[in-house]
């Protein structure tokens, strides 16, 4: 535990920035009481709210996952009605995607982008407030559907018509909630782009930006491009349901498959929205704890950009079984396989960063390493799914469930956890308990594999996804998977404990936090905790 001991040596919080008398900036601290949060315009306060909201949703969505895995613990229906089971899978996905992963990344963007580009705050603070405060309404509405006649949405997070049109009173609530989440994301994205484009410290050219900032810049463009597409798709569902249109109804000249095309035109870039910022995070952490510069910075940037571009032309790989012309299938197969190339470049570059480095294994590095291995496994199964004839077997089975959980849990979620463990002392000014954090890491990494690896086997053996009960031949692996799920779920209580604990107590953090690793980046030139207004005078970047 070399880090802990070296960090215990504490600097008094001395602001690095100069206080010029002639700067007529209102240098006030936070407001008192609830006004600080409701009227928040400070990027750190808003970032904190985003992150805590995301943590709350992580547990709400996680509870639903526990219901799913409890029902699947053994064959036969023991706990819930199949309709409620379907509501659980649909709500779990919607909440984890839009409530946990995306807000966590926006929270990290809020906290870290101004710190990393040397800005005092985000460019559009009032819009920032608005985009956060929409979320509690959106999710109250979505969770409220659990109480209305007809039950919560049960047609899957993909909301395919005609099935989704059978939703009861929850239907308009679902649509409106999706609209709100989309509006919130778009505003968040605009704010990120404006901040990065206009508020970088003098000397920080685009190709000198930290990788986290780069990844978010590109993610923000993806968000602005595809959230309106989703909004359009769900609005068409709404008018089909209530206003007599037949966009997706064959009997009226419409086309149910059209919805899938529109949805996945949003949906595939969306999955990259959930992973690119994690790429950025890992690209910050691995060099720090390898004590070596990121290998191939330029190609890392180009890789992200090409992944973003390709993500717009692969959507139909989610729809190989709907029946497409041969040429279409071949095109989408090739384009999907191509995405593996820039993704591979990223994995190779991270590996090359560690090669001949000087590695230490603090909690952020442990999570980044777990990301590196397990995300890659998700990439391999993605490659398998891209092979169209094989996808005819894999599609809509647990193999797909295993694939996307590998890229989303040890991928996106571990990326978020790595970021929290990396920057938490900078936010709170306190170190957290390294031993407990390492325990959290090991428990999470072991259980996530117990949970998701057997799902590959289940899918290959023929178990469809989204079913509440199954043939006895699938019993053994399902039980193992459920045990992994309960273990993973419980382990996350440690994560919450560590976060709340470090808000109040813990050894004081130094400015560099990880002194031993000498991290690069402007955020480490500020005191810990970072001052309320980050950089009032722009730092100089050489």
């Amino acid at each position: 535990m070399s880090t802990t001991s070296s960090i215990a040596h504490h600097h008094p919080a001395e602001p690095v920035r100069d206080h010029h008398e002639d700067v007529h900036h209102e240098d006030h601290g936070p407001e008192k009481g609830w006004r600080r949060w409701v009227f928040a315009t400070n990027h750190k306060d808003i970032g904190t709210m985003y992150l805590l909201f995301s943590l709350l949703m992580f547990f709400v969505g996680g509870t639903m996952a526990m219901v799913i895995r409890a029902e699947l613990f053994q064959p036969g229906l023991q706990l819930v009605d199949p309709m409620f089971f379907n509501s659980m899978t649909s709500m779990h996905a919607l909440i984890m995607i839009f409530g946990a992963v995306m807000p966590a990344f926006v929270g990290l963007a809020n906290w870290m982008i101004p710190l990393q580009v040397g800005a005092p705050d985000m460019a559009l603070p009032r819009m920032n407030n608005f985009s956060f405060w929409i979320l509690p309404f959106a999710f109250s509405l979505l969770l409220g559907t659990l109480l209305v006649p007809g039950g919560a949405p049960a047609g899957g997070w993909t909301m395919y018509p005609p099935l989704v049109l059978q939703t009861g009173n929850a239907f308009p609530m679902l649509i409106f909630a999706v609209h709100l989440m989309g509006a919130s994301s778009i505003m968040g994205a605009i704010n990120v782009i404006v901040t990065i484009m206009n508020m970088r410290a003098p000397g920080m050219s685009l190709l000198k930006m930290p990788m986290f900032v780069w990844s978010w810049l590109i993610t923000a463009y993806l968000l602005i491009a595809v959230m309106p597409v989703l909004a359009g798709a769900v609005t068409m569902l709404l008018t089909d349901h209530y206003f007599g249109t037949t966009f997706f109804e064959a009997a009226g000249g419409g086309d149910p498959v059209m919805f899938q095309h529109i949805f996945w035109f949003f949906g595939h870039p969306e999955v990259y929205i959930m992973i690119l910022p994690a790429f950025g995070i890992v690209s910050e952490i691995i060099p720090t704890f390898s004590r070596k510069k990121l290998f191939g910075y330029d190609s890392m940037v180009y890789a992200i950009a090409s992944i973003a571009f390709l993500s717009f032309i692969v959507w139909a790989h989610h729809m190989f079984t709907v029946g497409m012309p041969l040429a279409g299938q071949l095109f989408f197969m090739l384009a999907t396989m191509l995405i593996a190339v820039p993704t591979g470049v990223k994995v190779f570059n991270w590996t090359a960063t560690m090669f001949k480095g000087s590695l230490s294994f603090e909690p952020p590095m442990l999570f980044a390493l777990s990301f590196l291995f397990l995300f890659t496994i998700g990439g391999f199964s993605g490659l398998m799914l891209a092979i169209v004839p094989a996808d005819f077997q894999y599609h809509d089975t647990y193999f797909v469930v295993a694939h996307f959980h590998y890229v989303l849990v040890p991928g996106a979620v571990f990326g978020i956890m790595a970021a929290v463990y990396y920057w938490l002392p900078k936010w709170t000014g306190h170190m957290y308990n390294m031993k407990l954090a390492k325990a959290h890491f090991w428990l999470s990494t072991i259980f996530v594999n117990v949970l998701f690896f057997p799902q590959h086997f289940l899918g290959l053996a023929g178990m469809p996804r989204r079913i509440p009960d199954y043939n006895t031949q699938f019993a053994d692996w399902n039980m193992i998977s459920s045990i992994g799920a309960f273990g993973f779920g419980l382990s996350q209580l440690l994560f919450a404990y560590l976060i709340f604990r470090s808000m109040r107590a813990g050894a004081p953090a130094t400015d560099k936090v990880w002194d031993d690793a000498k991290p690069h980046g402007l955020e480490w030139t500020l005191s810990s905790p970072a001052p309320y207004h980050s950089f009032e005078t722009a730092p100089e970047v050489k």
């Binding site: 199949p82 086309d255 079984t321 396989m337 190339v341």
Partner: protein
């Protein structure tokens, strides 16, 4: 006599994979059609490609983690790029992927070739059962979850699923087809989207209201093959299995004849 024994043996053998390895099954089983075998071969190929790449990449990662530990006194080198290495690990994956795409495309072409079929069955998905119609043969019927399974699958039914034969994978009336014949399946749906899937045939396709999709298979072993609906279709999506009974041509013909007679008596009675 020998023939009957052979048939029975074949049937037992065919049902073995489902029964014997089922529990801790790790891999995709090999099916009983040309397409399913080709698909299985592709699956194994891409799996091995992934495993080999994984060994190389994870090998270097693990080596670095073990070898370049600060606690062991490792000192960081200062290189931060290598154009040559980067070109190598961009080009090699492209080559591997193109090489993968070729057999995949060839199989796809074969899959899409639905010409010259011997028998056409129209399959319609409903919430929550399948309807089978033998085109131009005047036979049609619904196929729903078998009673035993249906009783056992009720919430807290108290019936142990282990005690039910082919729990959730059994129907009252399976689709019957002749062995060795090219069967073309036309797929559509009456309400929401479903998907018709028999793993042993390798094929899965969506049944979409207002559309007609096609797939084909030629089973080369007599036997009973089981699958499930593979597209979320509402409350009982998990309870609409697909069962196909592949019979010898003679058995199929006599079965068809009985069905046609039944249809005739039924319509005469009306």
């Amino acid at each position: 006599m020998v023939k009957i024994v052979k048939c029975a043996l074949a049937a037992v053998l065919a049902s073995l994979p489902a029964a014997a390895f089922a529990a801790w099954e790790l891999n995709m089983p090999v099916g009983v059609t040309e397409l399913s075998r080709r698909i299985h071969a592709l699956h194994m190929l891409i799996l091995w490609v992934c495993i080999l790449i994984a060994i190389a990449v994870f090998g270097v990662m693990i080596y670095s983690i073990v070898k370049f530990r600060r606690s062991q006194g490792a000192v960081a080198a200062s290189f931060d790029h290598s154009t040559r290495a980067e070109i190598v690990w961009t080009v090699i994956p492209i080559v591997i992927l193109v090489a993968m795409a070729v057999p995949a495309a060839a199989t796809l072409v074969r899959i899409e070739d639905t010409r010259n079929s011997d028998l056409t069955v129209k399959v319609t998905g409903y919430q929550w059962r399948w309807h089978y119609e033998y085109l131009e043969r005047n036979v049609a019927f619904f196929s729903s979850l078998s009673r035993d399974s249906d009783a056992a699958r009720q919430l807290d039914s108290g019936i142990d699923p282990e005690s039910v034969q082919n729990y959730l994978l059994d129907v009252d009336k399976p689709l019957v087809v002749p062995v060795g014949k090219k069967v073309r399946v036309l797929l559509t749906a009456g309400d929401v989207i479903h998907a018709w899937w028999v793993p042993a045939f390798g094929m899965k396709k969506d049944a979409i209201p207002g559309f007609v999709n096609e797939l084909w298979f030629r089973a080369d072993q007599v036997g009973i093959y089981r699958g499930q609906c593979a597209e979320l279709c509402g409350r009982d999506h998990g309870f609409m299995p697909v069962v196909v009974d592949v019979r010898s041509e003679a058995d199929f013909d006599s079965w068809l004849k009985t069905q046609q007679d039944n249809t005739k008596t039924a319509s005469a009675a009306e």
